[in-house]
Symmetry: C2
Subunit: 294 residues, 2 copies
């Protein structure tokens, strides 16, 4: 997805919210805003928004003199999500369509996103998921919710590459990864995390904390972009990318950066941005299970 003019105010909003989130003093916040502003004339509008987001969060790390400003927030998200894991598991177990329910839970976990939604009440959101009945997300489904296509793709796959998004959300991903492993024990599952801190996106440590390393081969993508910018990804990541039968891409940042790729990718996310909604023709908060390039 290209960068729209509407993304420019949003870049500053994200920078500002991030500074607030990590309690950066006013002078340093102004320094962040100034540095972001100086990047605008260099901004390539044909590039995807996560390219600029990567630069913004580099600026925040530099000005805050903190290589992982969201560390505490990520740890808290992991803890909160792990605490509800048994409840999520129960929901799947009593469901008539376990795979569908696991998909729904994985997508619901995508609400954990401090880049797009800063005033997030994590506990409230998770409670909403825990209280969900069989049909909760059914009503929100749309032309971008292609569960049959997703299941068909899984049935044919020998290898799956799961591109994770946020810390905490990983616990919700675990529900889906466990379901895939149980239903399709022959599928080889890889899971990619970010290589370096990028907002609250998950790193190797989060994958270990959330128990993903016991279910899948976890690899770092080698990048600090809050998305998947292939040109910044490691050789190891790209090898798995090319050889996987099915790529499961979580979150809006991943979608924005690889929506145009030719691989067999299913995008799972909640639409959190009006510009993206307009770009793909859906509504804000829509629940997306969408096969790219169809």
């Amino acid at each position: 997805m290209k960068t729209y003019f509407e993304c420019i105010p949003c870049f500053f909003k994200q920078a500002m919210e991030a500074c607030k989130m990590i309690n950066l003093p006013a002078e340093k916040t102004k320094a962040v805003m100034d540095a972001v502003a100086l990047e605008i004339p260099r901004l390539d509008m044909t590039a995807s928004p996560p390219e600029m987001a990567m630069i913004i969060y580099r600026i925040i790390r530099e000005k805050s003199n903190n290589r992982d400003p969201y560390l505490r927030i990520k740890r808290k998200s992991n803890e909160t999500a792990l605490a509800v894991y048994p409840g999520l598991k129960k929901i799947v177990k009593r469901s008539r369509n376990r795979l569908l329910k696991a998909v729904e839970i994985a997508i619901a976990g995508n609400i954990i996103d401090y880049g797009a939604l800063s005033d997030l009440d994590l506990n409230k959101e998770i409670r909403a998921v825990l209280n969900s009945e069989e049909k909760t997300l059914e009503k929100e489904k749309n032309i971008y919710f292609n569960f049959d296509g997703f299941r068909d793709s899984l049935e044919k796959a020998k290898s799956v590459f799961y591109l994770a998004d946020n810390a905490g959300e990983l616990v919700f991903d675990r529900i889906l990864i466990e379901e895939i492993r149980d239903m399709y024990p022959d599928i080889k599952i890889f899971c990619a995390v970010r290589g370096y801190p990028a907002i609250n996106d998950c790193l190797m440590q989060d994958a270990i904390t959330c128990g993903i390393d016991r279910l899948a081969t976890v690899v770092s993508n080698g990048s600090d972009a809050p998305g998947t910018l292939l040109e910044s990804c490691s050789r190891e990541f790209l090898d798995i990318w090319k050889s996987s039968d099915l790529i499961i891409s979580k979150g809006q940042g991943n979608f924005e950066s690889i929506a145009d790729q030719k691989e067999n990718i299913f995008f799972l996310f909640i639409v959190k941005c009006g510009v993206l909604a307009r770009d793909i023709g859906c509504r804000l908060r829509d629940v997306i299970l969408y096969r790219g390039n169809l």
Copy 2:
């Protein structure tokens, strides 16, 4: 009012919306965004937001090579508002409290604001005013709606300085100015318009088109700020400013720039910005009739 960090994304949003409004091509829009960005490091956060807005709209005029990009929009607002003038007049005439109704109409006219609310449906808004009953705004009134104080101030005043805001809105102001003139024929009424184009703020020509020149002595404030930056105002404006018993200040831009002044000012506007709402402790869309420095 000082500039908050939240104002920075909003500056870019306003610039972008203005470019869209005047159909500026993409390359020129990018040039505007770049130029606005380069102003951010120079931005004084203790200055009021209209100071930066003044710079932004100067940039838009320069990059669009158009000294009055909102001219057509202003003419349309004047026409639309003049067409409903007889209806507004009828509402006042059949009202039990004509001054209160005229105040309400003048404030309702403040919805005509292309800086803060760009996707405005003017006709719809005006219809809402025309259909209003005696109590329409009553429910929205709050501690900032001090009608008794306003009437008391008018009763004591020998001279009133009316700081106008947007084109079109001027017709709604005319309703209030006529009411003041009819009720207090001894009051000398001055009305200030902007000195140069600033968004859709009114100029001398708009005051003439809307018939204000036949009711009040209209003066230019000598400035191109979308607000009242006293240091950029003309000597003539400042002389009237100092000698007036009561200043009636319309709109958010005027409020933001002169809220801290010591004169006897009543601010009439609709709150269109969450930052300002938080700053003064009210809600978005609140109807304000507020005496400064009380």
